[in-house]
Structures are given as structure tokens and as C-alpha cells.
Subunit: 281 residues, 2 copies
């Protein structure tokens, strides 16, 4: 991924992170781990979740609106912490936005290719992500053999807080039944890191689990360093959450997914709408 | 529920049915069984599903838009085959619309009260339906003792086609754990009839399962008869589906839920938007 031109914002500005809902909190968690001095603005578009079944043009429109909302809050870079939005909007946003922009797909693909010597790579994701073939096409172009499975029960299992129970194990076995021999499996949905334990157990030894959240955090940290945009130590490394839907439901899910503490604001979807001039930018 | 004034449309006009997605197909199935000569227009608002986590005013706005779209297609009555939309929009729509309008909540409550002599009634539903207390309040006002449980995993289990597996049994046991003694349990979500077998097994004998889809079909049939609006035998009893989201995904889900065959059209959400004059009507 070529780096965009240096942004007009300083190193102490916050990083913007967005997702259709709460799944991106696993990405935020890894970003905080890799970048302990950064402050963040996280936007969860819970009023319009899920993005998966929506047409790509619609998702691209949402992502553009959200990127503008984050830019309006002075972010120095934007992480699209959502597989669907990364697939639909990253190329266009990376071209257009005046700040560096990252998605979760490319880092996940690169990590898998780097750690699966045999090149047999499994992809688990939502129906939208698997059907879009966003992972499979990139992996196959690089010479890998792929196997993909949509796992629609995984997101509600994580959100219900039963990720570490017999229910999760039974459902994981159901989805992984009939898989070919694999060297690595990409967790192609930001909710899935919560299921790492159960998936490792069902997949058995010798299969590397690729967590896109970890992968994107490593890439963002590397790029910010290269660009001289790492926040100086000692700044206020807080998180400001903007939620288009209901704040209490978001808080509940944030707790389950281990999202860091912060301040919360409700941001009505109508405030995100762009005029024709902004849309064309 | 007092009957609205006679509608301007004839007995051979179709009945309108709508839901936020595919769940209402279980209601459509029961309506077809109770009313074999009727033709139907079913609108699935899959571009904006789920309604559950959205604010009631927003859901009311969607329901008003959809009701107008159905009226524009000449329906003689409208069934809101969605618990969330019934709770949010039925009173207002029933007052305003020029055709009879039904929701799924009241018929389910009436059926439960009629068949639970001890008055200990359980309610299973989505998070939105359970939190809204739409069933509990009505049941308690009638003297029943209630116990309610949100079951977010049930909808994806049904849509995944694993309703009759060990996964469904384990999840049903999880949700019903710790319940008090019950005389009846209301399936307070239009997807749940697919789980009847598993729920009956876990609940054991002596607990009556109340299927809101069956209950609303019986009420609609009774009211149409009273109003002289039953379709004459021998008409073309088809179904026309309008889907705001992706048609192939809808078809897949329709197959799992046993929705009747029919013709399918994609109806963009933007076509549903109302002008200020229509909104105020």
C-alpha cells in the first residue's frame, strides 16, 4: 500500500477509527496496545449496522460521510476498522482523503501470506465479506489456495458474551466441518478475535490464526513512525466515542468486547449527511 | 381492537404484509393457510433491517413510508408482521390509514391469556421487543405474571437453517435456564416459529407455545369476514414480494423460512421516502 502524502495535521492530533458498530473495538484495543500514547476518536455507526448485506455503493456513501465527520474532529489519520467498509470504500477514500487511511483487509492478507508457508489459507467472515471475495481474490493472486466460510452466528455469539462456552465450540465445529488441511486461518471479521481460544481448540495445532486487528495495528504503528506522526509520550491518550445509535446498547457491547473506557456522545445520522459539494470532494 | 371504518378498496384487492426483513414470512405462511383465496403484497425492508435496536420514532417513520408504498399498490388491509414495528407504529397507523391494520402483539397477547389458565406467561423475543415491555405490560395489566428473556441468537440460528440441531437445543437451554414455572410461552419474534420443536422439547409438557403468526392470521381472517372483505374463491392467490435490499439474499432466507413462491422486485429505499404532506397525513 503506497503511503499517502503527509497530512495537514500534527502528530498530537487523534487517530480516527470507525466501524459499522462495535466490532471495530477489537481493532481499537490492538491500536491502543501498539500505540499507547495516541488518543482516538471512535465512530460506531450502530444506527445503520449491519453494513454486510447493504449494496457497496451505499456502504461507500456511509464511509465517506463518516470520514468527513472524523476529519471535522481533527484526526491525523483514519482506520476503517470494518471488513465490509474496507472492501467497499478503502481504495476511494485512500485516494481522496487528506490524511493516511488504512483498512483491515490488506494487513490481514499480508500477515497470512507471511505466516502460511504452505499457502493453504482459510477465511472466516460474515456473509458479505466472504461473498465479496475480498480476501480470497487477494490471497489467490499471491498464489495461495483458499477455503472460505461465512459464519453468521459468530457475531451474535460474541455480542451475547458466550464466546467461551459449549455453544461457541459447537458452532465453531459446525462451521469448520469439512474444511481441507489449512496452514493459516484469517479472522476476517472484527468480532472474531473474541473467539480465538475456541477456534484454536477446534482447528488444532499447526494452524496459525491471523487476527486482522493485530495486523492492522502493526501496520498503522509502522506507517505513523515513518511519517513522523507518532504522538509524543505523555499526551492524553483517551478515547472519544461517537455513536449514531443508542449509547447504552453500545456501552454494553463495548464491555463484552473489552473496548477501552472513554467519553461517549450520541451523533445523529442526520448530522452525517453531506452536501453535494462535500460528496464530490 | 376496534375495527376501522370500511376501506375504499374491494374484497379482491390484495392484503399488504410487511416486516423489517424475512421474519414476517412466517406470518405470511399462516395468513396463506388461514386465507387460501387471498393475494398478498409482502414488503421486506431488508436494506434497513434490523429495526430492533433503532429508536421507535425512526421505526415509526419507516412503517409509515412502507404503509404508503403498500397503499399505493392497492392493498385492502395491512398486517405489520414485525414485533418491533407493531409496538412502535400500530396505534398511530391504525388511526391514520384508510384500511384495516393489524399488528402481531395484540393477537399474541390475547391468545396467551386465553390459553394460560394459571396466568404465568413467558415471553421470548429480540432485545428490542423484550426491553420495550410491549408484551409484559399488556399481560400484566390483564393480571398475568410474566417472565421475559431476550434471545438474540435465535434469529441467526433460524436464518442459518440450524433450527433443528444440537446448536439450537443448547442455545434454547441456555436462554430458558433459570425460568420460573410457566403455563405458556409467547414466541414474541416472527422468526421463532421455526424453533417450535426445539422449544417444546426444552420447555417440556404442560407449557403451551403461543405462535403470534397463527394468532394474527386467525384475527385477520375473522376481521376480513366481518368486514365483508374476504377474497372470493377462485381469484389468483399469489404473492408479490417487494424487497428494499438484495433480492438473492431474501430468496435464500425465504427458502429457509418456508415463504410461499411469488414474484420478486427490488424497491430502493429512496422510492419509499415521503414528502412532508404525506408524512403529515
Amino acid at each position: 500500500m503506497p503511503l499517502p502524502p503527509p497530512p495537514p495535521r500534527g502528530a498530537s492530533a487523534p487517530l480516527g477509527v470507525f466501524d459499522s458498530g462495535v466490532g471495530g473495538l477489537t481493532v481499537l484495543k490492538e491500536l491502543r496496545r501498539a500505540l499507547p500514547h495516541e488518543s482516538f476518536v471512535y465512530l460506531g455507526d450502530t444506527a445503520r449496522v449491519p453494513y454486510g448485506p447493504k449494496p457497496p455503493e451505499m456502504v461507500r456513501g456511509f464511509a465517506t460521510e463518516i470520514a468527513h465527520a472524523l476529519l471535522g474532529r481533527g484526526v491525523k489519520g483514519i482506520v476503517i476498522a470494518c471488513n465490509t467498509a474496507s472492501a467497499a470504500a478503502l481504495p476511494e477514500l485512500a485516494d481522496r482523503l487528506p490524511v493516511p487511511t488504512w483498512g483491515v483487509v490488506e494487513p490481514g492478507v499480508a500477515a497470512a501470506l507471511g505466516r502460511a508457508p504452505g499457502g493453504r489459507i482459510g477465511v472466516l467472515g460474515t456473509q458479505g465479506t466472504v461473498a465479496s471475495r475480498v480476501y480470497q481474490d487477494r490471497l489467490e493472486r499471491a498464489g495461495a489456495i483458499t477455503w472460505a466460510r461465512a459464519c453468521p452466528l459468530f457475531v451474535p455469539i460474541v455480542e451475547e458474551g458466550v464466546s467461551d462456552t459449549a455453544i461457541a465450540r459447537l458452532v465453531a465445529s459446525h462451521y469448520l466441518e469439512g474444511r481441507p488441511p489449512l496452514d493459516a486461518v484469517i479472522l476476517g471479521c472484527t468480532h472474531y478475535p473474541a473467539l480465538k481460544g475456541v477456534l484454536a481448540e477446534v482447528l488444532g495445532e499447526g494452524v496459525t490464526l491471523i487476527d486482522s486487528a493485530e495486523a492492522v495495528a502493526a501496520v498503522v504503528a509502522r506507517d505513523l513512525r515513518r511519517l513522523g506522526l507518532l504522538a509524543p509520550a505523555g499526551g492524553r491518550a483517551g478515547v472519544r466515542y461517537l455513536v449514531t445509535g443508542d449509547v447504552p446498547s453500545f456501552l454494553h457491547a463495548a464491555e463484552v468486547l473489552g473496548g477501552p473506557a472513554g467519553t461517549y456522545e450520541q451523533l445523529p445520522v442526520t448530522d452525517l449527511s453531506l452536501g453535494p459539494a462535500e460528496r464530490a470532494r
